[in-house]
């Protein structure tokens, strides 16, 4: 059957194909920079969907959220507005690796982002599936939908996630699907291949969701939220939630769990040899963990509620492609889950990706001018990694429209820069996840100074509005003044001072020292020093934090510059 082709009456500057975490950041960036932007999604009800766990942040990933926020992106504000659980990780392991991690209310997060794109000026949001890219002389000029409509635009950003020839696996059952129950995109893969773009195959997986009502909480450990931590967005002062924060819960696998898994390995889609794609090393399935680490007698399993208005719980640490009845059997061996009911089983998904060595550092393809890729299609995994690429792709598409210099973030400037540089120069063998160990300038790439690193960049591009710019300047000014004061203010070794120091467990002073010099002592910190510092001004916590880090670790930071 031939479909009549019609050209849509309105033309766009930038068209986003896909409205996941990459697509929404790309669309918002392009529209905010003044481009007429179209955001196409196969399903309006899954905009910014969280098909795996509802967690945002963690080491390197939380840093990326701050970087996106610092440039004027949306992810930081979205998670602040919808989080149900939050903690600061690695607080004792050093200033550069501390990281926020939050659980989102899955549905609220989706609604927040859906509304953010809906109310954005110059941005049209439409539900439609893309069938082909329109290319002439190696330059893109639009896309064509399955329903036969041609949307014209000089730049196209593809953020199709796991949907390209998606194939889900659960035990012996395979289904053509981008995610459980959602149709894959086969035409888009073909369209890319027709353009001479090489595709590879990866896989990822998720865990079962269980019914909270069937968990015996007397047998699991509770891990509370930490309400006093700072928020993700530089625009917010504190974490404020409409309802009380939720805890997470911890239980463990045991020998019985492992025996059931070992006994059914042949039925696992992966161990049964039915999956060709390469899976992520950092997120092994429970089958993998049991096989590769036989000496471990238990593995941690976190139970996370997917939102305030649902009983669905994510079982972190138990990603699997075993048949549903096996999943039920091994889950019921965990303390607290003896009577558990599974609401959705876990599964693995295989999908096409575009090996990212075919991209420029702007995320534009080398083969087709104006065509950009961002997110999981580039072989990455993680919402934050996707969003980080999304904002860069959206910015660069807009800059191309405006005939301006493209934006390439450096490795010493941002985790986003580290990621994109890794992708385009080294390519991808397994799904790429950002790690702090990938950054060689880790002490410079802290979450506290993401604004210092990137807000001026966002301002220059046109993404940072006056309100954020003003806030940024106030913070910088306060920091400068306080750092100067700490370097100038001298503490004399009076009897009182020596007594205070000995109370803190610190060595006595041999000579007068500046507050900055005292701060550099390993067993003193900014808050401990307050009795020695009567003239200390009242400053916002994030200002104190950053000044403290920059003075206390000055020598180490300089070594990495």
């Amino acid at each position: 059957m031939t479909i009549p082709i019609t050209s849509y009456s309105k033309s766009y500057d930038v068209i986003m194909v896909g409205a996941g975490h990459a697509g929404v950041e790309a669309a918002l960036a392009a529209a905010r920079m003044g481009c007429r932007t179209l955001l196409l999604t196969m399903n309006l009800d899954t905009i910014a969907h969280m098909p795996c766990n509802c967690s945002i942040g963690g080491p390197a990933k939380g840093h990326v959220v701050r970087e996106i926020d610092a440039m004027g992106g949306e992810m930081g504000r979205a998670i602040d507005a919808t989080l149900t659980h939050i903690r600061m990780l690695n607080t004792s392991k050093g200033p550069a690796v501390q990281a926020l991690r939050a659980q989102a209310d899955k549905n609220l997060y989706h609604l927040y982002m859906k509304h953010a794109v809906e109310r954005q000026d110059r941005l049209d949001v439409k539900q439609s599936a893309v069938a082909a890219l329109l290319v002439e002389d190696s330059r893109i000029f639009g896309i064509q939908t399955k329903s036969g409509i041609q949307y014209l635009g000089a730049c196209v950003v593809m953020t199709t996630g796991t949907f390209l020839r998606g194939l889900t696996h659960m035990g012996e059952v395979q289904q053509s699907a981008g995610r459980a129950g959602e149709a894959p995109s086969v035409e888009a893969s073909q369209s890319l291949e027709n353009l001479g773009i090489r595709l590879g195959r990866l896989k990822t997986g998720t865990t079962a969701r269980i019914d909270k009502k069937t968990v015996d909480f007397s047998k699991v450990e509770t891990q509370e939220s930490e309400p006093d931590v700072p928020p993700f967005s530089f625009l917010n002062d504190r974490v404020e939630t409409p309802r009380p924060l939720l805890p997470a819960w911890l239980t463990h696998t045991n020998d019985e769990t492992h025996q059931i898994i070992r006994g059914n390995l042949g039925r696992s889609a992966m161990y049964g040899g039915r999956i060709q794609g390469v899976g992520p090393r950092y997120c092994p399935s429970i089958e993998d963990k049991v096989v590769r680490f036989p000496e471990k007698d238990r593995h941690s399993v976190f139970l996370e509620q997917e939102g305030w208005d649902t009983v669905e719980m994510y079982v972190q640490g138990m990603s699997t492609s075993l048949p549903e009845e096996v999943q039920i059997a091994f889950l019921r061996t965990l303390p607290g889950l003896e009577e558990v009911e599974v609401m959705r089983p876990g599964y693995a998904v295989e999908y096409d990706f575009v090996p990212p060595d075919q991209l420029l550092p702007t995320l534009e393809t080398k083969a087709v001018k104006g065509l950009y890729f961002a997110g999981q299609i580039n072989g990455t995994s993680g919402y934050e990694e996707a969003a980080g690429q999304g904002i860069v792709a959206g910015i660069n598409a807009a800059l191309r429209i405006q005939d301006r210099e493209p934006l390439v973030l450096s490795r010493s400037q941002s985790y986003i820069g580290v990621m994109i540089d890794d992708l385009v120069t080294k390519g991808v063998d397994d799904p790429y996840r950002l790690l702090t160990s990938r950054a060689e300038h880790r002490l410079l790439l802290r979450q506290d100074n993401a604004d210092e690193r990137l807000t001026p960049v966002g301002r220059e591009i046109g993404l940072v509005d006056d309100a954020r710019w003003e806030l940024f300047h106030v913070k910088q000014e306060l920091m400068k003044t306080e750092a100067h004061r700490l370097r100038q203010q001298i503490v004399r070794p009076t009897a009182e001072v020596q007594r205070l120091l000995s109370e803190m467990g610190a060595d006595p002073m041999a000579k007068p020292l500046s507050l900055a010099e005292l701060l550099r002592r390993s067993n003193l910190d900014y808050s401990l020093l307050s009795p020695l510092d009567p003239e200390r001004p009242d400053l916002p916590a994030h200002v104190e934090e950053q000044v403290e880090i920059e003075i206390k670790y000055e020598g180490y930071i300089k070594r990495q510059e």
Binding site: R281, F293, K296, G317, T436, L443, R559
Partner: protein
Amino acid sequence: MTLLLSDTIAAISTPLGEGGIGIVRVSGPAAFTVAERLFRGAAPASELPSHRPTLGRIVDPATNAPVDQVLLTLFRAPHSYTGEDTAEISGHGGIVVTRRVLELCVSHGARLARPGEFTERAFLNGKIDLAQAEAVIDTIRAKSQAGLRVAIGQLEGRLSDRLKTVRHHLLELMAHIEATIDFPDDVEEPVTGVTLGAIDAALEEIRRLLDTAEAGRVYREGIGVAIAGKPNVGKSSLMNALLRDARAIVTEVPGTTRDLLEESLTLGGIPLRLVDTAGLRATEDVVERIGVGRAKEALQDADLVLLVLDRSRPLDAEDRDAWATVRGKRLLVVLNQADLPPAWTPEDLNVHLDGFPPADALETSLSTGAGLPELEERIKATALGGGIEPAQVYVSNVRHRAALDAAAESLEEARATVTGGLPLDLVGNDVKAAAERLAEVTGESVTEDVITEIFQRFCVGK
């Protein structure tokens, strides 16, 4: 991983000149195609077995005119020096004929190789690491048997093996640190004792390697030895005795040697650059004065000075001047003419020469040869700084030594960071810096290795 280098290179691999054979080496994806076009033998070149020489002829395919009778040996990838398909054409070693074979290779699918490109490809294809690649050059340029032994040891990967052991300790530690940072829910922090233990073990091994660096350098580059002393104490005779050759003109006239005379020799495997200098004295003679000036410069540049004094004549002001000139240098004092009646005892040296260390004098007679073997032993021992066991691993390359020094420094910093109670992140950065310096020697990358190590050793992930 084998890197696919798209083009095929060719070069003459034997010294240019008339020799017994001349070898043209062709390496790359088209190596066998090139050979097939030019070679006429019992079978087409591409069907020949690997690693077995086959007799045939090289012809100019345009005219089918024979160029040379040759042995063709194919090395199929990856079993070749470069890791690529390689053809070696061994012909009669004339300048013109070997060049002609090379020209034919170049006009039939290969291009001229840059200097060192075969070794570079071996490195890029993972056949050898960077330290081994450098050892290839050292092997070719070795100045002595011992220097060659050091280079061959490095070529066989002995230094690389030792470094890999150190690197492995550091990677293990880093993987643990990085894993607990990136996966705090899954991996516990390493305890301080373990961290310090790993740092110290690595540091100790690096120091042991660094201890060999001086000897390694001496074996590789040799040392400069200058002979000094007032006129007519037998400096030139000493030079000739060490060279076992009448190289320097020896007369009884003081000031015979007016310019520097430099010769190379090996002593117990150590390459020496031996310099005979003009006698050190104040003189009105313009030419001799220039010679004395040059002598002083040469003495400053030398790694070791042999100060020659004449036992049979009283010590005088000129001896004192000569001593003053070389004071502070690494020194061996040669008391010459020991076969003649002595004019003073070794103890007198302390009286006449200010600050003279008595133990460093050695009696010789160049006319009888007495004391010469002892002198040679002393030169060798002094050059090596003493106490070096043979057949060990040596750090002989300046670049390697600098890298190891920097690695040791980073580990010292890591140690201070741990004991100062500073956070793990900072310890990780120092250890990583050390591992990166070590990796510079062998040309490996650290970040990816650490990440691989994390996933191999720790069960992480949600």
